[in-house]
Every structure is written in C-alpha cells, then in structure tokens.
C-alpha cells in the first residue's frame, strides 16, 4: 500500500490535508491537532494532501507493486468461456452510411 509520511514537528495543525483527502484516508486528531493516516490502503496517490499542505511536509509514496485487475482475459474468474475470434470484423462498418 502507499506510504504517507509527514514531519510532525513542522506541522502547524492547519488541517488542510484532512480537508483535501476526499477518500477519508486522513483523519484528524482534534486534541493533538495533527493528521492521522488512518486508511492508507485506500489512498490513490492524487497528492491533494501534498498540494494543500501549508508547510509542504507531507509525502505520499505510491506503491507501484500493487496487484492490478485483469486487463485482457479474466483468467482468474473463469476459463470456460468461448475464445474471442482472432480476425474481427470492422467494428464500425456501417453499410447504411
């Protein structure tokens, strides 16, 4: 999963990172006035917490090794499906035109 780090000693408690995180990854410790990176597994590296941080002290490091869904053939779901043809017809040949 992505890693999110910041420098607590330099944080001013502006709450911008919490406000910017549209996925609820970042929660806010009201008492300490500091962010809590509560759900990093849901971070999608939009970087809006970095962009919004008034002190530029947040760093999101994307995890590029995350598993990715099937792109061409859903081999993990089922193999008992007819194979697509190898020589497709022109998908946009519209005789009417």
């Amino acid at each position: 999963m992505n890693t999110i780090k910041y420098e607590p000693d330099l944080c001013t408690g502006c709450k911008n990172c919490y406000n910017a995180c549209w996925l609820d990854v970042i929660r806010w410790d009201e008492e300490a006035e500091r962010p809590i990176f509560a759900y990093p597994e849901d971070c999608v590296e939009c970087n809006f917490c970095e962009i919004s941080c008034s002190e530029h002290i947040i760093k999101v490091s994307p995890d590029f090794s995350k598993t990715w869904p099937e792109t061409y053939v859903a081999s993990t779901l089922n193999k008992e499906i007819p194979a697509p043809s190898e020589t497709p017809a022109n998908p946009h040949s519209h005789p009417a035109e």
């Binding site: 549209w22 809006f48 598993t67 859903a74 779901l77 007819p82 194979a83 035109e97």
Partner: protein, 589 residues
C-alpha cells in the same frame, strides 16, 4: 417502532444536493439564485472543494463559439452519439455553453486562455479554455456567501420515498457511524458516475447515487455505454497521454496505423485517439494479444504529447505552460503525478509496455430536459446522469467523450437542475418520512457493520474489478462472455450478504461495493439486450449497427427486487439527423 430522532441525527432542508462536486455546487448556487428563500444543503463524503472528479484531471473547459451550435449537434449526433442522441437536450447544451461560462465566471471562477482559446477540433467549431483545479473551492466560498449549508464526511446510501415521491435521504457519518436522516422537498443527485475503483485516482465515481436512485425506483438508461478505456503504463498503471498514436505490437508492427482504417473513415484521429477520444484502441490491443502478438508497447520517443503546446498547456506534466495558460494548482498537480510516475519504470527502454485501463464512466440515471427523473422531487446533475440524460447518445460519460466536455456539462446540468428543483420545492410541502422504511434501509446498510465474521470488502471488490476490467467482457462484447460475466456479477451480489465492515469507514466501502455490483449488473444486462454495435458498444457477435431494432434506449428499472430490462422508443420523428440523411463520409487524410 423506532422514531427517526431515536434512529439518528435528523435534518430538514428544502433542497438536498447529494454530492458537492462541480455539478452539485453549481446546482446549489443556481437554486439559491432562483429562490433565495429556500434552504439548500449539500452533503458529501468529502469536504467542500475537494469532492468529485473535476479537480482530478485537466480542468479543460470546451465551449461552442457563436454560430457553431448546429454544426456541433450534427457532428455529435452522427459521429459519437450514433443516432440515439437526445437532440433537443443536446441543442440546449450547444446553445448555452457561453452563457454557462459567464455564469460560472460570475461565481468567481477564473478562466485561463480566455483571450485566445484553443481551436481544439479539426471538424467543428470547438474552443477550449481551462480552469485551475481549485475552482470547486471558489464555488464553495460562493455557496457559503449564499448561506448554502454543507454536511461533510457523510455517506448517503438511500433515498426516502412516499410512493413515487421523494421525501428525503439517509446515510451515516463516516466519522461516528451515526445514522443521518435528511427530510427534504427535493433531492438533486450529483454524486458521480461509476468507475468500479479500477483506475485508482481516475476512478472517483463510486456509483452510490445511481444505486440509491435505482433502489428507490428511478429509471436508468444507456448503462451499456459506460466502457471508457484509457491507455496506461504496465509499470505505473497511470495514464500515458498520447500513447494511442504510437502503439506497436511485439513484432514491431504499428498498431496505430493498422487501426486507422477501421475508425469510421474519420480523419479526426490526432492525439489521444482523436479529440473525441476513440474507444477502439483497446480492442485492437486485445485482438493483437489474442493473436499472440502481445504485449503492446508505445514508442516513447515518438510520443511528444507531453511537451507539445497542447500538452504543456492542458495537462502540464513537463515544463511550464505559456503565461496565459499557467495554472498554479494544475501545474503542481500534474508535475507531482509525472515525477512519481518516473520512479516506477522498470527500465529505460524506448518501447514501454502499455495496457488498456478500464475507466468505465457509467452514468445511467435518467433525467429529462429539466434534469428531472421519473420520481417526483428527484433531480440529477453531473456524471450520475450524464449517460441517462441521453443527450450525447452511445458514449460513456463525461458526455460525448469530446475533450473538455465533462466540466462544462457538469455546470450546465447543475445550473439547470438547481433551477428546476427550486421551482419544484418552492411549490411543494414537505412529505412524510415512513419510519418503517427508514428502519429497513438502515438495517440493510448497517448489516456489514453488525455482522460477525465474513468477507472483507476487498475480497469481493477485487473480483468485481476483474469482471469489469477484462476487455473480453466489458470491451469486446459477446453474448456468451457477457452472460458469464453477468453470472459472476450475480455471484458477487450474493456475496454481499457476507461482507463485513469493522468500522464506519469500511461501511462506506461496503456500500460502495454494493453500488458497484448493482452498476455492473446494469452494465451487462443492458449490453446483452442491445444486440448490435453502436457508438462505444462493440459486439463481436453483432458487429453492425441495427437502426431498425435498436435505434432505441435500453431501460433498466427495479421491479419487485428484480432488474427489468426494456427497450424504449425514441422520439426520432422530432429529430433532425438520421442515418438516411447523412452526408457522404469524408475521406481519411
């Protein structure tokens, strides 16, 4: 019976707007403009200014210059909408882009490139400016000035109804898990389309509004066209702009040149698969793989999009935009994305592996020209209804896939929905919330939180991603494969009964998963019904367009817990553009 106040926190407002992204904020401002006496409240999972999709992209804003309106309507209908565009709404839009810009500018949003907009289309009058990616914060400040109220960090899960009339909405606080019940005269659904969480940042649409409206009895249409597929790097899984024009198979043969003659003889095939974002490149990649010619690569030296004037000014990944186009937030956003992508490449090879990245963009909630749904008091705006409004026909949302239309359509729909809802709410009394209905909906939504032991959200979500992402199912469609995909989706639907959520954050995810499964069922049921190829929906078993039987909409609706599928006639006798009055095709250059 549990009273509403015992069940959770209750609110009352004249107009509730679910989703405070670009469309929702415009709807709120528009409703206040139309009737300042009405109380208007927005509710979202995010904080105002950061919700939705519009700040995670190019910030492009296309408009139609004066005199070009009808040329746009004809081009869109014939070339993209493939003759099922709802021409009247499309014409409304074409006639309103400049007025919409003036209205949004009046709310304080700054436009870049306004002095000399790009002439951004080779076929039709089509100009482009940009806004910076903090424009929703500007709209948010304007909302506060107009006394619009906001509820943040709240997931809305269901609409409350009295027969076919909307009387409010309910959900829960993501922070505390407390039930939230909002009584309202009108609801504007503006919380995005469905992207099935595949393309990470680009998949901000979680489809909660589609699912809530569907469960309440709202009509859906054009769900089968939600199959937008972009080009992504196999190394970092982010979008590689311009790759479409420089694709090669493993033998070194140019895929792009092979694809060109198949693209409807349309010479509009420049960067990004054409300004209109052609959807067929992913199919050519798929076919090459099936022939054993994969993987597919881009030649990175040939792809000069990022450093081109258009690339620098519209998606500034590298270098600096021209002064009149320089946007501070967009510059920061795109540069950070680019810098992080560079750390992911496994080698320095000129040929970089490219994959099809399924974005989806399914937005099937039906609305008419006034942005009203079939349910009294339910209106919609933005991606949630961008396919369902029918205007742009056989395409995914953002409507039409013309570059720069997403934001413009969100404003146009938002402004119109706000006015319509204000008119309705100004002449309507509050309805009565049925406590039994609210309690049943609460129990359904909260079941994953109260369940002991079961499936984590992620395990079911990963299977859902696979069944939507695989091109053999969702891109290159076929009866047998889609039937299989639908079976898998229905299996996932059954698994929802075993999903567990340890806290309110995961309860939000569980609800998003439920929304994703419903939308996947819509997508495959509608695509199975459309036995032809039209627009972005391409079938192996029905490769031709069938205007006799399918110049119609596929309509989905909940009927006693089952998803009904019907074909709906279009008022084509009132339309101007038809297949039999098409001009001769323009020869490719």
């Amino acid at each position: 019976m549990t009273s509403l106040s015992e069940m959770g926190q209750t609110f009352e407002t004249d107009i509730l707007i679910v989703g405070h992204g670009s469309a929702g904020l415009c709807a709120a401002l528009s409703a206040k403009d139309a009737n300042p006496k009405l109380d208007v409240m927005t509710v979202d999972k995010s904080v105002v200014g950061f919700g939705g999709k519009a700040n995670k992209g190019g910030g492009h804003c296309s408009f139609i210059p004066e005199g070009g309106e009808e040329a746009y309507v004809e081009y869109q209908t014939r070339n993209l909408g493939d003759y099922i565009s709802e021409e009247h709404l499309l014409r409304d839009y074409a006639s309103n882009t400049r007025a919409t810009i003036e209205r949004v500018e009046g709310y304080g949003v700054q436009f870049y490139g306004k002095e000399k907009p790009f002439n951004a289309h080779p076929m039709i009058p089509w100009s482009m400016m940009t806004v910076d990616l903090d424009f929703m914060q500007v709209l948010g400040r304007q909302c506060r000035r107009k006394k619009v109220r906001h509820l943040e960090k709240v997931s809305i899960t269901d609409l409350l109804t009295d027969g076919d009339t909307i009387v409010g909405a309910m959900g829960f606080s993501m922070l505390t898990g407390e039930v939230i019940i909002i009584k309202s005269k009108a609801v504007i659904m503006a919380n995005g389309g469905q992207n099935w969480r595949i393309m990470r940042m680009w998949s901000s649409g979680r489809g909660d509004g589609i699912a809530a409206a569907y469960r309440a009895g709202a009509k859906m249409r054009n769900a089968e066209f939600g199959s937008f597929i972009n080009m992504i790097s196999a190394d970092h899984h982010m979008v590689v702009y311009g790759a479409e024009d420089h694709l090669y198979n493993a033998k070194g043969e140019s895929l792009t040149e092979f694809a060109r003659p198949h693209m409807k003889d349309n010479p509009n095939l420049g960067a990004l698969g054409g300004v209109d974002l052609g959807g067929n490149h992913a199919l050519f990649m798929f076919w090459e793989n099936q022939k054993g010619n994969g993987p597919i690569y881009q030649n990175k030296l040939e792809n000069g999009f990022a450093t081109s004037p258009i690339g620098r000014n519209l998606g500034p990944e590298i270098g600096t935009a021209d002064p009149e186009w320089f946007r501070p937030v967009a510059h920061d956003f795109w540069h950070r994305l680019h810098e992080k992508k560079q750390t992911a490449f496994k080698n320095d090879n000129v040929m970089q592996e490219i994959l099809p990245g399924f974005v989806g963009e399914c937005g099937p909630l039906y609305v008419d020209r006034s942005m009203a749904s079939n349910l009294k008091g339910l209106f919609a705006a933005g991606d949630v209804c961008a396919c369902g409004n029918g205007a742009t026909g056989a395409v995914p949302t953002p409507p039409g896939r013309n570059r720069g239309t997403g934001i413009m359509w969100s404003w146009f729909m938002g402004l119109r929905a706000g006015e319509s809802a204000a008119d309705y709410a100004g002449n309507t009394e509050f309805g009565q919330i049925n406590e039994d209905q609210a309690e049943q909906l609460r129990a359904d939504t909260f079941a994953p939180l109260e369940r002991v032991g079961g499936l984590p959200v992620e395990s079911v979500l990963n299977e859902l991603k696979d069944v939507m992402s695989a091109i053999e199912f969702s891109g290159w469609k076929h009866e047998a494969r889609m039937t299989k995909a639908l079976d898998i989706v229905l299996g996932l639907k059954a698994k929802l009964n075993d999903v567990v959520a340890p806290d309110p954050h995961y309860l939000m995810s569980a609800n998003e998963l439920r929304s994703g499964v419903i939308c996947a069922e819509m997508f495959y049921r509608a695509a199975l019904e459309r036995k032809e190829s039209r627009g972005w929906m391409i079938r192996e078993d029905y490769p031709e367009r069938d205007d006799v039987n399918f110049r119609k909409n596929v309509v989905l609706q909940d009927k006693d817990g089952e998803m009904s599928v019907t074909l709906e006639d279009l008022p084509i006798e009132t339309y101007k553009y038809h297949p039999d009055n098409a001009p001769a095709p323009v020869a490719a250059e």
